[in-house]
């Protein structure tokens, strides 16, 4: 019961198919606990992006149940979904930056969507751009940025609103190992502040870089649980909860 209360996400027997093809995800069941750091691994085409799409509410599953922040998001009225999306920070695999907005305005976008007053936007956005090492490019349009720079703008946009859950799809795919490590440190820092982090990556070397992380492995659409963390509340979750 108390485990149920503290979950942030619960998938129960979720299946996903696109069109009339076979299922891309099959019988996926897992629970995510607040304050934990998860890696989602698996070969290219295993279904990582598809699973994350379900997680960031861009896609409905073909079957199964998904609970998030204590609500059944499958049966939730459409009008209530934006409030859930605003609690998420997402780094899309293809970045999805708004092409005609500057790096600054792209990073500011989630704050503006949430109605943060303009006076409270300039400094946090400047700080965040500074942190990802792009303060000198704040006026640049995405097309004039390199792949790695675009990725860092996308990451800055995902974390600017201090989301309850950060969902990152291959966030280090376009940066050098040094920057990859720096970005992981950013995710960890955010995680220590209470944000649940889910990072999809096919790069197994990354997993070792975050000692407290939990690993989910997707293989041809099916989830395996190498650390057992998905069945039992992980240490990080215990750390956040008051003693019972």
């Amino acid at each position: 019961m108390s485990d149920f209360d503290s979950e942030i996400v619960a998938f129960d027997n979720v299946g996903l198919r696109y069109g009339t093809e076979g299922e891309v995800l099959r019988d996926v069941s897992f629970t995510l606990y607040p304050g934990s750091f998860y890696f989602l691994t698996g070969a290219s085409g295993a279904g990582k992006t598809s699973l994350l799409k379900l997680l960031y509410l861009a896609q409905r599953p073909s079957r199964g149940a998904i609970r998030m922040f204590g609500a059944d998001v499958i049966t939730l009225p459409r009008a209530r979904l934006p409030a859930f999306r605003r609690r998420l920070g997402v780094v899309f695999q293809d970045f999805r930056l708004v092409s005609h907005l500057s790096a600054f305005d792209n990073v500011a976008l989630p704050l503006r969507v949430s109605g943060v007053p303009e006076s409270d936007i300039a400094k946090p956005v400047a700080d965040m751009l500074d942190w990802v090492g792009l303060s000198h490019r704040h006026e640049a349009r995405p097309a004039t940025l390199s792949g790695g720079e675009q990725q860092r703008v996308a990451i800055a946009r995902a974390v600017i609103g201090r989301p309850d859950m950060l969902i990152a799809d291959e966030p280090t795919g376009n940066v050098d190992p040094e920057m990859a490590l720096k970005l992981l440190r950013l995710f960890e820092a955010l995680n220590r502040l209470g944000t649940t982090v889910v990072v999809a990556t096919h790069d197994v070397h990354l997993l070792k870089k975050v000692p407290d992380s939990l690993i989910m492995r997707l293989d041809k659409g099916q989830l395996s649980d190498p650390t057992g963390a998905l069945r039992y509340p992980p240490r990080a979750a215990h750390r956040e909860r008051p003693a019972s």
Binding site: L81, L109, P110
Partner: protein, 310 residues
């Protein structure tokens, strides 16, 4: 002072978080480069001209009706001036004695000449073309067929060449034609409104298509349907306001030029076809209605499209 600046800010922000300039900047503005303002300008100009025509016809009919109800005309058609004058006098005497006649007035020759001048040329009246004597009669009751027939019979005794016509009678086919023209004007205004809505619908759909990526991003970041619709409403609203202003200017210019042309034609019949102040205000409201149609159309189009996303 502070209040106006606060109001300005509210207007710029669109009275809601994420409204206003910030939201509008999400969609690159086509503005003058796009066809939208021009399509709307043309629609508004045509609507203004059609509506002005309808209103002018309305005024003309009303003025004519008011003037002509209960009115009749007696013509004495006799080529010889002396005989004509004699019969006209007899008619006047008979009219004075008739209890059904409220008043009558012999139309002076000078006035008749002036009335006919555009058609017959200067000085024609006292030359070869015989001009009938004309007496305007105002009846106590309506100038219906029975009243006209009674008067005609009565006058035939004293003036065999007198012909009585209800003034509205000879204008009846004209009234019919004008009423048809008014319906035509109304139909034109409705068609133009529908066409404008269709044009905005197409423009909004193409704007949606070319901004699909932006819309999806705002949607995924937790933007509501209303926020996304406002982005487009605002941009379409700007375009429509611009087009509406240009269209109003063109339309009014057209109306003024046409008005001058008709004023030059002004004989008794077209008088009263001018536009009143409320009419001008109605015309000025057309671009406002155009902006409203455009914004509502854009909103409905965008909402219909984003509702297809989860």
């Amino acid at each position: 002072m502070t209040r106006t600046s606060a109001l300005n800010r509210a207007v710029v922000r669109g009275l809601s978080p994420f409204g206003g300039d910030r939201a509008a900047r999400l969609v690159p503005q086509a503005r003058l480069a796009g066809p939208m303002p021009w399509v709307i300008a043309i629609m508004v100009a045509l609507t203004v001209v059609a509506a002005a025509g309808g209103l002018a016809l309305q005024n003309m009919v009303e003025a004519a009706r008011a003037e002509l109800s209960g009115g009749a005309t007696v013509q004495v058609i006799e080529a010889f001036p002396a005989a004509r004058e004699e019969q006209a006098r007899a008619v006047e005497t008979a009219l004075a004695a008739d209890p059904a006649v409220a008043s009558y007035r012999r139309v002076p020759e000078a006035e008749l000449d002036a009335l006919l001048e555009p058609w017959l040329g200067v000085g024609s009246a006292d030359a070869t073309v015989p001009v009938p004597a004309l007496i305007d009669v105002r009846l106590r009751g309506a100038a219906d067929r029975a009243a006209i027939d009674r008067l005609q019979t009565r006058l035939l005794d004293v003036a065999p060449d007198a012909r009585v016509d209800a003034q509205s009678g000879w204008l009846q086919p004209v009234f019919g034609a004008i009423t048809s023209l008014q319906w035509l004007a109304i139909a034109l205004v409705v068609l133009l409104a529908l066409t404008s809505a269709a044009a905005v619908w197409l423009a909004a759909r193409s704007a949606l298509g070319s901004n699909r990526n932006t819309i999806e991003i705002v949607h995924l970041l937790g933007g509501t349907d209303g926020q996304i619709a406002r982005i487009f409403q605002r941009s379409v609203g700007y375009d429509a306001a611009l087009g509406g202003a240009v269209g109003l200017a063109i339309g009014i210019a057209g109306v003024v030029v046409l008005g001058r042309q008709f004023a030059a034609l002004a004989s008794g019949m077209v008088a009263g076809g001018g536009l009143t102040l409320p009419d001008w205000l109605t015309l000025a409201a057309i671009p406002v209605a155009g902006v409203a149609i455009a914004v509502i159309t854009a909103r409905l189009t965008v909402l219909a499209a984003v509702r297809r996303m989860l």
